[in-house]
Subunit: 141 residues, 2 copies
Amino acid sequence: MDDGFLHTCLFFTANRLGRAITKMAEEEFAPTGLTPMYGYLIRLVIGAPGISQKELAEKLSVTPSTLTRFVDKLEAKRLVERKVQGKTVLVYPTDKAKEMEETIRQASRSLKARYEAVLGVEAAQHLTKELEDSSISLEKH
Amino acid sequence: MDDGFLHTCLFFTANRLGRAITKMAEEEFAPTGLTPMYGYLIRLVIGAPGISQKELAEKLSVTPSTLTRFVDKLEAKRLVERKVQGKTVLVYPTDKAKEMEETIRQASRSLKARYEAVLGVEAAQHLTKELEDSSISLEKH
DNA sequence: GAAGTTATATTGTATGTACAAACAAAATTA
DNA sequence: TAATTTTGTTTGTACATACAATATAACTTC
């Protein structure tokens, strides 16, 4: 059957991998009660208390509107607090978030261990680097 | 700042690339009036009239419920027709869809040309293959 | 052939994400 | 300093996608 175009299309294969790894990541992050993106957002906030939403959006490569929604949810769960400073919003972790940090780190480690077991440590690292480099290039165009 | 974990995480980088290439793909598919996934679905249906939804879901690596939603939309646009056969549903292209085929193919070509120009032909092909191989491995676990 | 099991599709609901428009504060310019 | 532009954030809306539950048809087994 003529479905070759799917296998040679970067759009299709990139999103296919995204769905597969997201599923795995959600399973590994289940013990945290958060999805992986939220876990990473919290790690960033703990690592730099008072970081602005703009910076968070850049680091996570999501749009500002998406980041607003993320912070809304984490604030509702009492995991972060906003402090408005002029036109920017600074984000701080709560004690509750700090208590979760180790659990989140553990989930990150489990996730990595799991996909490295499937793909091979070397191959996984190489692939990750290629993905990041390609993302940077594509985001510019 | 301590954000290294993002750059070494396959979950994060895969989805980051997915967002970047999806944006580009949507731009290139704009002339078709469809998003890229719908365009590819139509190509599959034209290439195999009467293909079942189950097969379509497998080829596109989406869940059956997602595929139902896709076909709902294309049916509403009079681009495909359903024919129920026992417990399976067969999908056929309409004339309207067939008339669009060349436009869709052209969008696919433009997309490929565009990201190959950014990444390099060789690198893009190699990356695509790695993504597919990795997807296949991860989908099993 | 009736009862139970499996396979396919659909529906209700939820989430992540984006874009465009609106808003508010800050910086620049007149 | 008033007017304009830029910057950061938020809101309304929309879409792709998934999961769990349900419906329905087909297959298996007794």
